[in-house]
């Protein structure tokens, strides 16, 4: 009898969730709303050179989020080719949210609170925005964890859906 393991689907979801969550941060908060840049609290973008300097580091930030996304895709591809990985939507979506939540919680704690290199919405009430950002991450981790658990309860059904190895595998 085949045994199912969620490891590959969980790790791919975690990486993809963190990568896509990083892109939401970069695209929405850095570029569309222009609330902050990666270094805007220590190198405020007040002239063209400091703007370009922040742009450079925003690019490095995006390069890392892109790398996480590509690694997540690679893991997902490997999981798809493995016959013992249950293709469970709840597990995958749950792990996407855990990944995104981890990104917000870690980035919020390290970059905003410990290093103080930028804040979500600088100015009056910036601490509230920063704590809200970390809280949003913790909520996503909790919600994702519940979805993953629900996926495990479904496992007996999902196990029946384990697909047979394809021709040539």
């Amino acid at each position: 009898m085949k045994t199912a393991h969620h490891g590959a689907i969980l790790s791919s979801g975690l990486l993809l969730g963190a990568g896509l969550g990083g892109f939401v941060d970069g695209i929405v908060l850095h570029q569309i709303l222009q609330w902050h840049n990666l270094l805007s609290s220590v190198h405020p973008p007040v002239d063209l050179v400091s703007m370009k300097f922040n742009m450079l580091w925003d690019g490095i930030f995006h390069a890392f989020t892109w790398t996480l996304t590509v690694l997540g895709l690679a893991r997902l591809w490997a999981a798809g080719k493995s016959a013992d990985v249950p293709w469970c939507t709840r597990t995958f979506v749950g792990s996407l949210f855990v990944g995104w939540g981890l990104f917000n919680a870690l980035e919020g704690t390290i970059d905003h609170q410990i290093l103080g290199i930028h804040h979500v919405h600088p100015g009056e009430g910036e601490l509230v925005w920063d704590l809200g950002f970390i809280a949003s991450g913790l909520v996503m981790i909790g919600g994702g964890w519940l979805a993953i658990r629900a996926g495990r309860i479904e496992l007996p059904v999902e196990r029946a859906r384990l697909r047979a190895p394809r021709y040539g595998e």
Partner: protein
Amino acid sequence: MSEKALALDFHALACPRCEAGIEARQQVLEQKPLENLWAALLPFVLIGVASLLVERVGKGRS
């Protein structure tokens, strides 16, 4: 400074071919970031490590 002069000045600074633009770009590259700046990218490393651990634990608990 008139609006036109400001626009010209900005062009010179931003243009990758104008001398001032090249100099501005050089200044960007020469700016020393904070010593602990790479720590800002630590969340990415931690998430990578977490995903590796999750994969191993997920396999082990099957």
